[in-house]
């Protein structure tokens, strides 16, 4: 079977109709991983036993002629920031190099309940901090579309695995663009749900007021199917909200005619690559032809999003990462003579450079005398950004922008300039700060055949509309 044609529904149907077996399909995927992944680097850990056990369960259902669950037999993989019972979970960090969690995160449990076959754990930037996947403590990931380029980050492994057909769909996490930007760089679909839509129980926390979990997939329909499987209130995560989960697939089949789409001028200014601009404008033109009303809007405080983001995100990270101290789990430095020396050396040897840089920045921003100037100020600017969106959504149903200012850049290109790397997230951090959902869908290529992504932002809990717009772009 041609792996590129394996969407979720096609995979499930092939197993249901017994044209193939879930076990055989899982083996196919492992074979492809064995062949391709030494070069690409998307997997950190394979979970063959667990995958085959689930696949056998699905094959047994199909053999008895029972209806398969929505993700029945579908080979998927999981970003390594999501904990998996009995399976090493590192968050891309040396400090968790030998960590074997005693429980499953809710999203993986829900994927498996829906019948998904988990092939393994995916590479990412350390603690999801990065925009290129070069901050992984283990190895960088290469972009399957051009091996000299980055896949984006931090969910680089999640995007590359889908792009290279080493999983039908994957889960990633998005704190400032970490699902949408790699999806854009690798030419796949990436969806960041609303804050509170999907349980984060078992997500290794980076910045708790920003972190989301969402799918990366080949098609918008597949992203909708995965979202339906993982969305909804979870008593184990008090930030997950009890808002009904609609049938997202039915939502995206509704026509887009008559939808009002805002185009914010601040997302088309200086720094936007010309080829990206043209592709995004062409996609907007297409949506207009399909009957959407295109409305020029302004999101006035956009240029303050990156500075506000890097204060809020690092402050929260400095607090969340305080738990890694070499006492209860993970790596411990062996050469310490006192407790305090043990903490310092463990963290020094266990964390990579970018993680330390962010802990330093966040600790500084929260330290006595600076809290008002940095953290409080950033949280106020965040209110302004959220108000920009609220005002815009009084006028329009969704907002369309580029996902990233450029297509995938070269490995090594930005590693020595943290600020330049942070600016790769300039169009994505706004949605994290405001709590709204966003999706990236492929909308063309550069002359060098590098994928370009269109970002669609929606109202709180209105994933249905952005999936619908994304589907229209994909189908036309």
């Amino acid at each position: 079977m041609d792996p590129q044609s394996l969407t979720i529904d096609a995979t499930r149907a092939a197993i249901q109709e017994r044209r193939t077996k879930a076990t055989a399909l899982a083996e196919d995927f492992y074979q492809r991983i064995e062949n391709q992944d030494p070069l690409i680097g998307s997997y950190l850990t394979l979970t063959r036993e667990r995958a085959l056990a689930k696949a056998e369960e699905i094959d047994a259902l199909a053999a008895r002629g029972e209806k398969l669950p929505p993700l029945g037999g579908v080979p998927v993989a999981i970003k390594d920031v999501l904990v998996t019972r009995g399976v090493r979970t590192t968050a891309g960090s040396k400090i968790l190099g030998n960590y074997v969690p005693p429980y499953d995160c809710t999203t993986v449990a829900r994927m498996e309940t829906a019948g998904a076959v988990v092939l393994g754990k995916l590479n990412c930037d350390e603690f999801a901090m990065g925009s290129s996947n070069e901050n992984s403590a283990w190895r960088p990931v290469r972009n399957p579309r051009d091996m000299s380029r980055v896949p984006g980050g931090s969910s680089g492994g999640s995007a590359a695995a889908v792009a290279a057909n080493m999983a039908v769909a994957t889960l990633g996490s998005d704190t400032g663009g970490s699902i949408r930007q790699p999806a854009s760089f690798c030419g796949v679909v990436g969806l960041m749900p609303t804050y509170g839509r999907v349980s984060r129980y078992g997500l290794i926390a980076f910045a708790s007021s920003l972190d989301r979990i969402g799918p990366l997939a080949k098609t918008v329909t597949d992203a909708a199917l995965v979202l339906r499987a993982i969305a909804g209130r979870d008593p184990m995560d008090s930030t997950s909200v009890d808002v009904p989960v609609p049938d997202y697939v039915a939502e995206l089949e509704k026509p887009v005619r008559g939808l009002k789409l805002g185009v914010p001028k601040e997302y088309f200014g200086e720094g936007l690559d010309d080829e990206v601009r043209k592709a995004v404008e062409a996609a907007i033109q297409k949506l207009s032809k399909l009957g959407c009303e295109i409305v020029p809007i302004s999101l006035l405080h956009t240029k303050y999003a990156i500075p506000a983001y890097y204060i809020v995100a690092t402050a929260e990270a400095s607090s969340n990462l305080a738990r890694f101290d070499g006492v209860r789990y993970g790596f411990r430095a062996s050469d310490a003579h006192s407790l305090s020396e043990m903490y310092r050396r463990t963290r020094d040897q266990g964390f990579g450079a970018e993680v330390k840089r962010r802990i330093m920045l966040g600790t500084y921003a929260l330290s006595a005398g600076y809290y008002d100037a940095y953290y409080l100020k950033a949280q106020k600017v965040r209110t302004l950004l959220a108000q920009d969106f609220a005002a815009a959504f009084n006028q329009v149903d969704a907002i369309v922008t580029p996902t990233a200012p450029t297509a995938a850049f070269k490995l090594g290109e930005k590693v020595d300039d943290p600020l330049a790397m942070y600016l790769a997230d300039i169009f994505t951090v706004t949605a994290n700060l405001a709590g709204i959902p966003g999706i990236s869908v492929p909308c063309g290529e550069t002359k060098k055949k590098l994928p370009i992504g269109l970002q669609i932002l929606g109202k709180h809990f209105d994933e249905g509309t952005i999936l619908r717009v994304g589907n229209a772009v994909e189908q036309n």
Binding site: I311, Y329, R332, K356, K377, Q379, K380, R382
Partner: protein, 102 residues
């Protein structure tokens, strides 16, 4: 320069990081450059703006409150499971290097 070498040392101390001499030089440069960029937030008058306190829109928050549950939502981990990932444990407790010097 917003941050001095002394600040870097002080913050590293707060964050329980030791940092090599090289890292200190590097972070001094990086943090100053990032904080210079962050300075553009001061172009905005936020004296009348409330800091964001909830990410979920108001009205949805109430849904996340629940009654206290005596037993907890999940049983505590069994002792051996809780200790299984510890770098050093004696079967009952996590072990750490000595805390009190004498």
């Amino acid at each position: 320069m917003k941050i001095s070498e002394k600040d870097v040392a002080y913050v590293a101390d707060l964050a329980h990081l030791e940092l090599t001499a090289e890292e200190r030089v590097r972070f001094l440069r990086d943090l100053n450059s990032i904080l210079d960029y962050v300075d553009r937030l001061n172009e905005l008058d936020t004296s009348e703006v409330q800091p964001m306190a909830h990410v979920t829109p108001s009205g949805e928050d109430a849904a996340t409150l629940r009654e206290d549950i005596l037993e907890g939502l999940r049983k505590s981990l069994p002792h051996p499971v809780a200790l299984a990932n510890a770098p050093d444990a004696d079967g009952t407790f996590f072990r750490v290097p000595k805390v009190i010097e004498r």
